[in-house]
Amino acid sequence: MLKTTACGFGSLALAGLCQQAQAGVPSTLLQRQPMFPPRAKRVIFLFMAGGPSHVDSYDHKPELYRNHGRDYDFTGVRFGTFGKKSKRKLMKPLWDFKQYGQCGQHVSELFPYTAQMVDDLCFIKSMHTEGVAHGPSTLFLHTGATNLIRPSVGSWVTYGLGTENQNLPGFVTLQPSGSKGGPRNHSNAFLPAIFQGTSIGKAGQPASEATLRNAVNTSLPRAEQERRFRLLQKLNAAQLANRPQDDQLEAVAESFELAWRMQMNAPEVFDLAGEDQATKRLYGIGEKHTDDFGKQCLMARRMAESGVRYIQVNYADESTNPRWDQHSNMPKHMDHARATDKPVAGLLADLKRRGLLEETLVWWGGEFGRTPFSQNADGRDHNPRGFTTWLAGAGVKPGISYGATDELGDTAVENKVHMHDLHATILHILGLDHEKLTYRYAGRDFRLTDVHGSVVHDILS
């Protein structure tokens, strides 16, 4: 214990670290045993880019109504106002709250569909995180670092567990944005490349066009593709004939066989044509506001069904002010709520009726929340000090609310959950110990949670 506290490393760990580099480190997507019995097999992360306002949606603050328009002392956290004190005006929620479900969770008019599912949700209302601007905070959400080059959560998960279906990627991110960290948000960083997130489509493109890159050959008719592939098999066989039992070369030949199988399988996963009308309606597909995000959510379910390990669905765009980023004009939150609420609730309901929710952890949230005081008359600024995230499905207690912000909703005060803690908890639910899931790089063992993070045991089922 003494060595642990003084130097940060136990001597046992040290002994482990002195072994030669990377022997036995997984570098394939083959399924691996978790470290202990997992509560969930996979994750679907619904990323709400820009920072949805918790005080207008799930974190009900009666005091905020009472103090509407009053001054609030605030110490600046941004460039130019760093450390400076100023008076800000408190602003009451723009939408009314009602209680729902057995649990009586408050939900505002922003999310009427999700409100119907609250008995399945596990709210964390005491989230806090690092960074103030979108880029650093979004990177922190995805990689546990605001600036340094670190692997994404999904990369760590597939590194730890591999994936169930070898004909599909293990970590998929649907329609990611190129801004606010961009590809680094799904990057493997220094982990082997196989753990990189595979992006399907990109923000701003219609979901109906999203598919696995190069899974479809647009240059050649099917018959010709097949002829070339057969010829390639013969050429490879002839080349291998002179090199019997050469693993490296055989792996290349095998990669073509696998690619050919993926080509047959992958496009089907992203093709929603086979889904019945009732299912599509559940997700709001075919309705003006929800069609696009509904399609993404339905693809997520199809991937979950096909055994993709980590699925991220992005509600994001390419603008300087990401979608939920209402520095002015808070009423615009309604557009985003309308676009996502029904699809998200539909996804939960669909997972539930298919029994998939029992083995899938669903995570909804943004990179931070918004301030209880106003900005530019009718907007709210970024708030990394306190915000709400919810989890649902495998591994978490349904119908509960954990932690709290202060009475105005500015700062997490009770049972605080740092983003590192959330990361640790997600890994734990998947059967991975965030302190033991390490990778040796540049002479050091790295973790998703760096030297931080504690599992939030109170929310585990």
């Binding site: 003084a6 670290l17 760093f82 605001t146 540049a442 050091r444």
Partner: protein
């Protein structure tokens, strides 16, 4: 035991033991364990244990001294020892099989003899020539080059080929690329808001030129770390040295980080880590928060270097920070153009100003003076942001809606008109490509309200600032014009409005005609000014660079890396363990930041790491694995060299050759060991499966660049144009950038947010970190890329057409296809497969047998490997 802020435990003294303070949570910054506080019982037990002398619980022994990094012991580790001059071993000359043996071979063979392992035979000439072409110039030999070499039976043929390839310009493009991996080169910042580095290409070209001109590697080091501080040279030298310091500047930084002190330290950290790994193969960054866990690098060494880089300016302040750019002296020809242009601009600006003044005078005289209302005087609804970025504004500034809050923002301009009558209404705005195209302007006049739309992307016709909207009648008193952002899509501008009276106040027709003439003159001059602005010559070129801060100083240790947690100040200096004596690690700074002294310390013959690291990297690229396989880690966590004497001999030779990279390459590729086959019978397979002893050549995978360049070479599309700016004009962001070029891969823009697909698929170096050795993965996404990507399909089609055109018979075409793609003749069996395929095929628009054959060969296993 302890850290930078004092010993954790002082046996017998609980007050001086930081451990006890940490667990007590008495100190705001020092809390251990960080997550929870120990129980009272645990804390008391600890305190008593310290009081009683802090015995080791395993042995019961009371420790005498706190553990500190033992530098003397550290210096005994292989990589920190001075480079030795090992004698070249004697070996059985018969092992040369008729060739005389060089030093490299003698070291290798002597070791093999000891282990009782024999080398395999030499590679076949066609294998060797393909290997050499790719290794030195990154391209396959053409069938003609192949024939030429195979036909030359003279003993000097191979050495001549080596010389020819070393002196070809493609050499620098290939070996420069290796260095660009180490320099984590990229042309955008990546991170939160990825910013384009539009001048980074100059650093790329500098590197390529350095390898082509065989710039001594020690000079190359000096220029990259401290080029700006070297004694003054010619203008061209000076330019080159500024550009070279781009090495320090072009890291992946999150310029929008709001905590600017943190950002500054992150940049310093990145520079220390990059310099450490690039030149010394040391992970110095580990010592930011605590003494290095594995290598003898104390935290004070880190902050000794941090003092140097904190005294170096890399950032320019701002909400989103900028980076330092330094002006380069333009070539005389460019300078002449710049001078001419600036003279013409000055002249036109002055003429325009004069004409405007004159016009104003006449307008007053003619009773035509307009009534102007500027935006500060107008009523603003919603948030409008002030700006002066575009200079053609009226008054002090203009305002814009930030492109948001559509339909909720308005600017109401109200004028006090002294006389009723007809006025020309003008609205002022600054134009630009990001502006709204249909901005509603509502004029409340005597006849009612009229709304007109203006396109703010177009240059305003009057003085580049105002646009006339027509004639309207107004009553005496208040008149309003409203600019709104309703229905607009982009940035909407409001600057000013003007009412120009048109009533016949003055009948002096002379004045009227003079007025018309003057207005024409002002418009003409305004157009000319705008024209000149758009035809500005490329201007004084700029380089991404660094410079010394105005104030330079030593810096504090940051306790546990906390940027606001300052410990003692440490003098600027270098790694103590890699300095022969303690005193050599202190920077004897003549002036400035100390970068020059750091560069000299690294580039010195005395430094035990620098030469070893570089010759090992060269060895790695040519032999497929380094003598030290962990090319970027020469520390305890790295691997020890397989042939330490050979490594030192090479490092010594490097110095004897005046740090010439080309000479080092020549020594290695002329060795017999380089020319061995990669397969063959030997007892090595069982004794040494990893080939650490070099009983055969290692098979190497082609780099992503070589794969792409070969495909373009085979299809006949590859351009041989060298150097220059290659990012497409008008591309604002790297995300979604469309790569469309047939230039060599080294010239393809390299962005941190978007990599060319083939690069991403085939393990190009991660441009965020120092990479001396790339990953080599085999993934189905690579196969999908080769099978289905439009690029490969298109080039295979072209290659097929080329094969069809160049060959006369099918048999000839099959041979050509193999020689073009794999650099060898097909075996009888392979020729048979290919002939059968071709004769079976029915050629049609979509079905081209030669394209199919080329495509399948490009996809085939051997294409991506060098035997």
């Amino acid at each position: 035991m302890g850290g930078d802020s004092g010993p954790a435990i002082v046996p017998g003294d609980r007050e001086a033991s930081r451990l006890i303070r940490a667990v007590s949570y008495a100190d705001g910054d020092l809390k251990m364990p960080p997550k929870y506080r120990l129980t009272e019982t645990e804390r008391v037990a600890l305190a008593q244990w310290v009081e009683s002398g802090a015995a080791d619980p395993r042995s019961g022994q009371v420790s005498k001294k706190s553990e500190e990094i033992d530098l003397a012991k550290g210096r005994r580790f292989w990589s920190f020892r001075p480079v030795t001059q090992p004698p070249v071993p004697k070996v059985d000359e018969a092992l040369g099989q008729g060739e005389s043996l060089g030093a490299i071979d003698r070291f290798v063979l002597s070791r093999l003899a000891k282990e009782g392992v024999r080398q395999v035979d030499l590679a076949k000439p066609e294998t060797l020539v393909r290997r050499l072409y790719f290794d030195l110039i990154g391209l396959p030999p053409t069938p003609e080059q192949l024939d030429e070499f195979l036909a030359d039976t003279s003993p000097e043929a191979y050495a001549r080929l080596v010389d020819r390839l070393l002196s070809s310009p493609q050499f620098g493009e290939t070996w420069g690329r290796h260095w660009l991996d180490v320099a984590r080169f990229a042309e955008s910042s990546g991170g939160g808001r990825s910013l384009m580095f539009r001048n980074a290409w100059r650093y790329r070209d500098y590197v390529i030129d350095a390898f082509n001109s065989d710039k001594p590697f020690n000079e190359f080091i000096l220029e990259q770390i401290a080029g700006d501080l070297l004694p003054e040279g010619t203008a061209a030298q000076q330019n080159e040295r500024f550009v070279a310091t781009g090495f320090l500047a072009l890291g992946p930084h999150n310029y929008e980080l709001q905590d600017k002190e943190l950002l500054r330290m992150e940049v310093v950290d990145e520079q220390i880590e990059t310099v450490g790994r690039a030149f010394l193969a040391m992970t110095i960054g580990c010592a930011r928060c605590h003494d290095h866990k594995f290598d003898p690098i104390p935290t004070r060494d880190y902050y000794a270097m941090a003092g140097i880089f904190r005294s170096t300016q890399s950032l320019v302040p701002g909400n989103v920070s900028g980076w330092v750019e330094r002006n380069l002296s333009p070539s005389p020809e460019v300078q002449r153009k710049i001078d001419q242009h600036s003279k013409a601009t000055k002249k036109s600006n002055a003429a325009l100003r004069d004409a405007k003044t004159e016009l104003q005078k006449v307008e007053v005289a003619a009773g035509r003076a307009g009534v102007f209302v500027d935006n500060p005087q107008a009523e603003k609804i919603g948030e409008w942001m002030k700006s002066t970025s575009n200079k053609n504004f009226y008054g002090e500034n203009y305002i814009h809606d930030k492109g948001e809050g559509k339909g909720q923002k308005k600017v109401i301009f109200t004028a006090e008109l002294k006389k009723a009558g007809e006025y020309e209404v003008r609205v002022g705005y600054t134009h630009g490509t990001n502006r709204s195209e249909k901005v509603p302007v509502t004029i409340a006049h005597t006849g009612g309200e009229t709304t007109l739309h203006i396109n703010q992307r177009e240059v305003p016709p009057i003085s580049n600032n105002f646009k006339a909207l027509g004639r309207f009648r107004f009553d005496e008193g208040k008149a309003t014009i409203t600019v709104s952002n309703a229905g607009t899509k982009d940035v909407t501008i409001a600057d000013a409005v003007a009412f120009i009276p048109l009533m016949n106040l003055n009948k002096d027709s002379g004045l009227e005609s003079r007025l018309a003439k003057l207005r024409g003159e002002v418009d003409r001059l305004a157009k000319r000014v705008e024209l000149l602005k758009n035809s500005k010559p490329a201007g004084s070129p700029k380089a991404m660079a660094v410079q010394d801060q105005k104030e330079v100083s030593d810096w504090h240790v940051h306790i546990r890396g906390g940027i606001r947690n300052k410990g003692p100040i440490v003098p600027r200096g270098f790694l103590q363990v890699a300095s022969r004596r303690q005193v050599d690690a202190q920077a004897k700074i003549r002036a400035g930041s100390g970068r020059r002294e750091l560069a000299e310390w690294i580039a010195s013959d005395e430094n035990p790491l620098t030469r070893r690291v570089m010759v090992n990297r060269i060895w790695h690229h040519l032999m497929g694995q380094g003598l030290v396989r962990t090319t970027d880690n020469f520390g305890v966590m790295g691997e020890a060299p397989s042939h330490s004497e050979l490594l030192d001999w090479l490092a010594g030779q490097f110095a004897r050759d005046n740090w010439s990279v080309k000479e080092m390459i020549r020594h290695i590729v002329l060795s017999r060991t380089y020319r061995l086959a990669s397969v063959g019978e030997s007892d090595g397979l069982a004794a040494d499966p990893e080939n650490r002893l070099l009983w055969r050549a290692n098979r190497k995978r082609l780099t992503a660049e070589a794969i792409r360049d070969s495909i373009l070479a085979i299809s006949g599309q590859l351009s041989d144009q060298q150097g220059g700016y290659t990012i497409r004009k008008f591309s604002q962001y790297d995300w979604g950038y469309e790569f469309n070029t047939v230039r060599r891969s080294v010239y393809v823009p390299l962005f941190r947010n978007t990599l060319m697909e083939v690069f991403e698929a085939f393990d190009v170096a991660n441009p965020n970190v120092v990479t001396g050795r790339r990953n080599e993965t085999t993934l189905p996404t690579q196969a999908l890329y080769l099978l289905n990507s439009p690029f490969v399909n298109k080039e295979a089609k072209r290659a097929g057409e080329r094969i069809e055109r160049l060959g006369h018979t099918d048999a000839e075409r099959v041979r050509l296809a193999y020689r073009l793609t794999l650099g060898r003749e097909p075996s009888a069996a392979e020729a048979e497969v290919a002939m059968a395929f071709v004769s079976d095929a029915v050629s049609s628009e979509e079905n081209r047998p030669w394209a199919s054959l080329a495509h399948s060969l490009i996809s085939s296993i051997q294409f991506r490997y060098l035997d």
